[in-house]
């Protein structure tokens, strides 16, 4: 068991940084919130302005998980993968292209994914979050492969998401580029 006696609450418009040593359970917690891991005990509850939301519905339509694997197929064109990820999550192709433009990926769209750098892949994965608005962003090491300019852009994007009433829960080792409350896990 990784996490014991753990409780945290995240409000709309707020960001929280999950901090802890390697192996402390940050990814596990994110995946449990996303519903991919069923906790042995305890609950993850979601609530909207109108009251509690059914967890399955909240996860399917209200939550984005960006793991440290980006789910992009290396053999396919970046444009195809962007199009699939955006439309699968409920966005439109046009919104996907706009997000890619915002993230500075227009010239890379016709390349196969394997030709993209780690930072470009991460930004391509992020385009899905911009193109289909969902309240809760679960981010696993979102900054790791990004350069300074991309980190600043990421901060801008996150700040906008929060300003629109969104929530961010991010597992990080470096500080997030936005004001965020630290949730430390893994301390006895």
């Amino acid at each position: 068991m990784l996490l014991r006696a753990f409780a945290a609450r995240l409000e709309a418009g707020a960001a929280a940084a999950l901090v802890g040593a390697n192996g402390a359970g940050k990814t596990t917690l994110l995946r449990a919130v996303a519903g991919l891991i069923r906790p042995a005990a305890g609950v993850v509850a979601f609530a909207g302005a109108a009251g509690p939301i059914e967890p399955d519905e909240a996860r399917r339509f209200g939550c984005h998980l960006m793991g440290h694997q980006d789910g992009l197929k290396s053999g396919r064109a970046a444009r195809e993968e962007l199009d699939f990820q955006v439309r699968w999550s409920g966005g439109t192709a046009a919104a996907g292209l706009a997000a890619a433009a915002r993230l500075g990926l227009v010239r890379q769209l016709d390349l196969p994914v394997r030709a993209l750098s780690a930072g470009q892949r991460r930004r391509l994965a992020l385009a899905r979050l911009l193109a289909c608005p969902r309240s809760l962003w679960l981010l696993d090491e979102p900054l790791a492969p990004l350069d300074a300019a991309s980190r600043a852009l990421m901060g801008e994007v996150m700040a906008e998401h929060l300003a629109g009433g969104g929530l961010i829960l991010a597992a990080v080792h470096d500080p997030l580029p936005i004001p965020a409350r630290d949730i430390v896990i893994g301390t006895p």
């Binding site: 995946r31 996303a34 519903g35 991919l36 891991i37 069923r38 996860r59 399917r60 339509f61 939550c63 984005h64 998980l65 793991g67 440290h68 694997q69 980006d70 789910g71 992009l72 197929k73 290396s74 053999g75 396919r76 195809e80 699939f84 990820q85 439309r87 699968w88 999550s89 409920g90 899905r128």
Partner: protein
């Protein structure tokens, strides 16, 4: 509905490229059918007698070739997370993946199977019946093979596991399909084995998605 189309388009394109796709499966079928007369001896009467059964065994093995990686890539690169958090339940995702595999690999195999059977000595009049039976059998192969692929996720010797789990499940369609060809050759009514084959394929398509979704959830958690 649009989510179904979006996923189906992706899966068709992935199935085309997965492990050589249709080309490899059809190539395997042709190569195996060419090698058989070499090992069994070229006497036409003997070949014609085993043609139906042999075609079905080769068909089953050819369908399994690229199925092993049906879920594995998505599991390894994180795409399965995105699929699991999408608008469709995992059961539907799994069914669409298998259906796409069937369309890309099973349909060309269904067209190639009569050619192989006729080349081995089945009367040409049996061609359309063999194609229809192979299409039905391919449906069973795709869904059962997909269930094996999902169960083998997160285990290291996946290929071996699939062979052990899936091959016994593929025996009934092989029996029914071979029997349909034999009955046709013997001028007996072949509707019964065909009906059994169809029932088995539809049952596989109806039940396997639940097994696949459960196995995927288990592998993700």
């Amino acid at each position: 509905m649009s989510a179904v189309l979006v996923l189906a388009r992706r899966e068709l394109s992935l199935a085309w490229g997965r492990g050589g796709g249709a080309l490899l499966a059809v190539g395997f079928l042709v190569a195996a059918s060419v090698m058989l007369p070499l090992s069994l001896g070229p006497a036409p009467a003997g070949l014609a007698r085993v043609a139906g059964g042999v075609t079905w065994v080769v068909l089953a093995l050819a369908s399994l070739l690229s199925l092993e990686r049906l879920f594995e890539r998505d599991f390894e690169d994180g795409a399965l997370d995105i699929l699991a958090l999408g608008p469709l339940p995992l059961e539907a995702v799994a069914a669409i993946k298998c259906a796409a595999h069937w369309a890309v690999v099973g349909a060309p195999l269904a067209l190639a199977a009569p050619v192989a059977a006729i080349a081995l000595g089945t009367p040409p009049a049996a061609g359309p019946m063999i194609a229809a039976a192979a299409a039905l059998g391919g449906l069973a192969f795709a869904f059962l093979g997909g269930a094996g692929a999902a169960l083998a996720l997160a285990s290291r010797r996946g290929g071996l596991l699939i062979a052990v789990i899936v091959l016994p499940l593929l025996t009934p369609p092989v029996i029914f399909g071979g029997a349909a060809i034999d009955d046709f050759q013997a001028h007996l009514p072949w509707a019964t084995p065909m009906a059994l084959l169809a029932a088995y394929a539809l049952a596989a398509a109806a039940l396997a998605p639940f097994a696949m979704a459960g196995a995927c959830r288990n592998a993700l958690g």
